[in-house]
Amino acid sequence: MSTDAIRIKRDVVRIKRNVSPASIILNILKWIFLLFLFAYAVFPVIWLAIASLKTNGELMANPFSLPKVWQFKNYTKAITVSGIGRMMLNSVVISMAATALNILITSMAAYSVSRFEFKGNKLLQTAFSSGILVPLNALMVPYFVLISNIGLYNKMGGLILVYTAIGVPISTFIVMGFMKSVPKELEEAAVIDGANFYKRFFTVIFPLSRAGIVTAGTFQFLTCWNEFVYANLLTSSQTVRTIQLGIRYFTNQFSTDYVSMYAAIIVSILPSITAYVLFQNQIIAGLTSGAVKG
């Protein structure tokens, strides 16, 4: 059969299939399913956003009504009562520092492991990637002891160190995948030009693996930003509190002022939503390269 004949036959099959009664029912079920998941993903957030603009009285009377007057003062109150500004700043500093450090050291390691042959190379690759599966939350006792012993308990430095470390396996894994795909010839050309190990890394490999590095970085940033367990365990005072910890304290701070608490929650998730809108391609690519490649 010629290619055209195959195409026509295929299209006939596809068209026939689409008009059978069974396929129409399946089609309807498909759309119900897809739209249900859609509503499920957005509805609670939208509900919370609307509730955050009502008065407490309106919320009690009817959880689904729209506010008569949009209560933007809930937000002013949320921001002043919760001290959310400081916590955001702490989160930004910690997440940025941990991301920068993590990306620098993991791309260095990925360069060594993915482009040079040495004894134990394979073992290291396996070790790093199996680190992804370690249930980190189980390591509370040793992390607490370690961080306290080196004097970083209740310091931003402690969280930066822990976050840099816990992202090591996944970042190395992602960056390694990208570095393996940089052609050997490019590096050999640089060797002939007299570029040494370090120069080749900074001028050839690092720039050419940028896509992977941005991906790993976005991922790492979100992990740090959203991390709760160790922020909770390794800090005690308000001055180093991150935004995720802040959310935990909202319930106490606002007690029965639910609408202001909701406003504070909305404010605290806005940066994640913004990051997602801006970097969704990197985030999705990061997931994909992390799990499919390799």
């Binding site: 260095m108 390691a109 959203n226």
Partner: protein, 289 residues
């Protein structure tokens, strides 16, 4: 200048920071936990060797048994309900229905919100007086089903367990990317043979996307083993420890200065996690990690 020698030093130097962190934060902690689990330690005075006392204590503690059971249920639901739902969604989106990219973006969206924020959001949904769930029931005329979802013994754990099952975005994205890398020819050939879409999904898509599906199951189940935030924020293990999980248990032991017991619980968690990984590997297939 000796290029090879220069390279050797470079490779080592570049590996060093990651190697140190990996040993300090992944290898050493596990060894530390194993040693501590055989000791009695309050965190202040020196640890005292206690043999199997910690293990005996946790395995005779009803709360810990309840926690393990909850974690296993959690992992099974994640691996065998959430992931199949994600695979189904990925298959549906792989045919690129109208707006599939919008669906993909929206499905993934809850994943960027932190576990704590999502849990707080859902505690508002479940709230007995003004929550969204009771509100919906009232609108549907099912007011008699209204409940204090997180406060009742029979609904607390299902409520904590169920809300994230329909957040399939994370696994859907992984599987979808894998499905999209399957050559179109296979489906064309199947079309010509008259295989239905469902048949094609079972015989072509799922087997060829198996690695990513297994990877997702693995990630989902490990995730089920290390749950903390959701339970901590929604119920803190209550009512009467119905919703406790292993990480919450070891956290509470630690707050009580029972570091040895906490370590033993952590070792059990790691063992159960390893068993899950090995079982999956040897039955369903090899994941990517």
């Amino acid at each position: 200048m000796n290029v090879k020698r220069d390279e050797k030093i470079g490779v080592l130097l570049f590996l060093l920071p990651v190697l140190i962190l990996f040993i300090a934060f992944f290898v050493y902690p596990v060894i530390y936990l194993i040693i501590m689990s055989f000791n009695k330690w309050s965190g202040f005075d020196a640890p005292v060797f206690a043999g199997l006392a910690n293990y005996i204590k946790i395995f005779t503690d009803k709360v810990f048994i309840r926690s393990i059971t909850n974690n296993i249920i959690w992992a099974l639901v994640a691996g065998f309900v959430q992931v199949p739902l994600a695979v189904l969604t990925a298959i549906l989106l792989s045919y690129k229905p109208r707006g599939w990219k919008v669906f993909r973006t929206v499905y993934f969206f809850p994943q960027v919100i932190s576990g704590v924020a999502l849990a707080t959001l859902w505690s508002a949904v479940y709230n007995a007086q003004y929550g969204m769930l009771n509100g919906i029931l009232r609108i549907l005329g099912l007011g008699h089903l209204e409940k204090n979802w997180l406060g009742s013994l029979d609904t607390a754990f299902p409520a904590v367990l169920i809300y994230w099952v329909f957040y399939v975005g994370y696994f859907m994205v992984i599987v979808l990317a894998d499905i999209q890398s399957i050559p179109e020819d296979y489906y064309e050939a199947a079309d010509i043979d008259g295989a239905s879409r469902i048949r094609q999904s079972i015989s072509i898509t799922v087997p060829l996307a198996k690695t990513s599906i297994v990877t997702c199951m693995l990630l989902a189940m490990i995730n089920g083993m290390r749950q903390f935030e959701q339970v901590y924020m929604l119920t803190n293990g209550g009512p009467s420890n119905r919703t406790s999980v292993m990480v919450l248990y070891l956290y509470k032991e630690m707050q009580n200065y029972a570091y040895g017991t906490s370590s033993a619980a952590a070792v059990v968690l790691i063992c159960v996690g390893t068993i899950v990984i090995l079982t999956l590997r040897n039955t369903i297939g090899r994941p990517n990690y």
